[in-house]
């Protein structure tokens, strides 16, 4: 029965206003949530468990403030919640993050890992494939469907449509929304989550070689031209060719 790990990350609510103060974003006032794509990963992991048995452990990297999203994952239905952290870590680069997560996954004895296709903060999408490489596992990214009929068969978009891919052996699978309806926590789950203990583990983080220089607001866009009435579409079409040069 598979030992399943799902990676989750704490991010600002996607509707949050992002404020820059000095040369860093100021996240002191934002509401923190599980990164939305990670919810699809949790749902997929739970469906895998329902089909094949085993257990689902939610794993995050972060300081104690991340315990809340682990408890949210517990309320949705994962079995165990684990946080990997060392107070000396700050602004780890992608290689360090992936290395730390890979060590924790190895120590948990996982056979399959699910994660969101990207986190809502960086949007990079590097963690799934990067962790897979650190583990020496295969990976499939951005899946929009998963079936568990003895093995794992996933659907992943390709240039010409979508590929049906069968996964054998250990793998990291990153999840997009697809047609998933994610389950919401029920009262029993919320009560269990309140009492749940977060296991805190640590790992060795390699030295980061990418350092943050600054975070800034997006460049302001100069005011555009505004027209009244549908007939102005003719003028706009002309400008798209003659001024913007895009058609």
């Amino acid at each position: 029965m598979p030992n399943i790990v799902v990676l989750v990350k704490r991010v600002p609510d996607t509707n949050a206003r992002i404020v820059v103060s000095g040369d860093r974003v100021d996240l002191s006032a934002v509401k923190w949530v599980i990164s939305p794509y990670d919810e699809f990963a949790i749902e997929t992991a739970l469906q895998h468990k329902e089909a094949a048995g085993g257990s689902v452990t939610a794993l995050t990297m972060g300081p104690s403030g991340s315990d809340k999203i682990l408890k949210d994952a517990k309320a949705i239905g994962v079995d165990e919640i684990v946080r990997v952290w060392d107070d000396s870590w700050s602004d780890l680069d992608s290689n360090s993050v992936q290395s730390v997560l890979a060590q924790a996954i190895t120590n948990l004895g996982a056979e399959v890992v699910y994660c969101g296709k990207a986190s809502a903060d960086t949007g990079a999408g590097s963690t799934g494939p990067g962790v897979a490489e650190h583990l020496g596992w295969s990976s499939v990214s951005n899946i929009i469907d998963a079936k568990f009929d003895g093995g794992i068969t996933v659907t992943s978009p390709v240039e010409t449509g979508s590929a049906i891919v069968s996964v054998s052996g250990s793998a990291v699978i990153s999840c997009d929304k697809g047609n998933l309806k994610v389950r919401k926590p029920n009262v029993k789950g919320i009560m269990m989550a309140k009492r749940a203990q977060v296991s805190v583990v640590t790992a060795d983080a390699p030295t980061s070689t990418v350092t943050i220089v600054s975070q800034t607001p997006p460049p302001a866009k100069p005011a555009g031209k505004k027209y009244e009435g549908g007939s102005s579409a003719e003028e706009v079409a002309k400008l798209l060719r003659e001024e913007a040069n895009v058609i």
């Binding site: 996607t14 069968s166 054998s168 549908g230 003719e234 895009v246």
Partner: protein, 308 residues
């Protein structure tokens, strides 16, 4: 000048135009690039010669028949020299670049939109802020399209390396997309509709304009959440796709922060909305305050006569 490696972007059996932009990005990083072409037929690499690129390596292998991240990364890694790795910020290339970086113990900086020496800038929080990072050594970098100028083509100096990679996943079948229309993540022009379109059937009016322009049709989260027949694959925004086409036309979309996050970096934005105070207008190069019913027929016929 230090070396860099460009992973050529391929599309339907040929080299995608963004590859020429990666050459300019490599030069902006002060590097001399080698262009790597993953392929099953080395002839494909003949189209991957650029002014400013030192050489082209066709990495030929059966594993490149279908996309499998682990075997692609292994085969490209084995054939590529050391240096900064540069790829296009497309879903597949971001994925394979992340694996190659991890394989070499390097970090990766995704979705780069500006390069200043070794300082790289990418959007974070879906474009609600920008982050600049400094590289202190080799790394992998993915670069967004439509940012850097395309390098001029030149005759390719191609060497061929045969590689095999152990394929970790097996593609059972490819289901072709029902519609011939482009996906929003691939298109240079996108026309999107929001809940202001009234009904999902009215998206046919957007499709007609998309057909004239060779554009993709997108949708806001509100539209996707409201109407079952508008699939999530069309959703542009923070929990959908982040796009930066040359032209983005938003119709009946008010411009929630969620949606803006996914499309604000588009080169030109046209907004059609009957509410003059809709937030989308603050981001539009060309705003039309009118209903879609009175605007789209005029737009369609103007564009059709222009494109014919």
């Amino acid at each position: 000048m230090s070396d860099s490696i460009i992973i050529a972007e391929t599309s339907k059996g040929s080299i995608a135009p963004v590859t020429a932009e990666l050459v300019s990005a490599a030069i902006a990083l002060g590097t001399s690039p080698t262009v790597i072409v993953p392929c099953t037929d080395a002839a494909m690499a003949d189209g991957a010669g650029y002014e400013g690129a030192s050489r082209t390596i066709a990495v030929k292998g059966a594993c490149f028949e279908n996309y499998d991240a682990s075997s692609w990364a292994a085969a490209i890694d084995a054939a590529a020299p050391s240096g900064i790795i540069i790829a296009a910020a497309t879903p597949q290339s971001k994925d394979v670049a992340a694996r190659i970086a991890a394989r070499r113990g390097l970090s990766i900086v995704q979705d780069v939109v500006a390069i200043d020496g070794m300082n790289l800038t990418s959007p974070i929080y879906s474009g609600k802020a920008m982050q600049t990072v400094a590289l202190s050594g080799d790394a992998a970098v993915s670069v967004r399209a439509n940012i850097f100028p395309a390098a001029n083509s030149s005759a390719a100096n191609v060497s061929v390396v045969d590689q095999s990679g152990d394929v970790g996943t097996a593609v059972q079948e490819i289901i072709a997309r029902a519609s011939a229309r482009l996906d929003v993540s691939e298109a240079n022009i996108i026309i999107s509709g929001g809940r202001g379109m009234g009904t999902p059937e009215n998206f046919s009016h957007l499709e007609k304009i998309a057909d004239v322009l060779g554009a993709a049709v997108g949708a806001s989260r509100a539209a996707v959440d409201t109407w079952e027949s508008i699939p999530h694959s069309m959703q542009v925004g923070q929990t959908g796709k982040t796009v930066n086409p040359n032209l983005y036309i938003a119709v009946g979309i008010s411009g929630a922060i969620q949606h803006l996050a996914g499309m604000r970096s588009s080169k030109y934005i046209v907004a059609v909305n009957k509410d003059a105070d809709a937030p989308i207008f603050a981001h539009a190069d060309y705003g039309i305050v009118a209903t879609w019913e009175e605007t789209l027929p005029v737009l369609e016929s103007a564009l059709a006569s222009m494109m014919s």
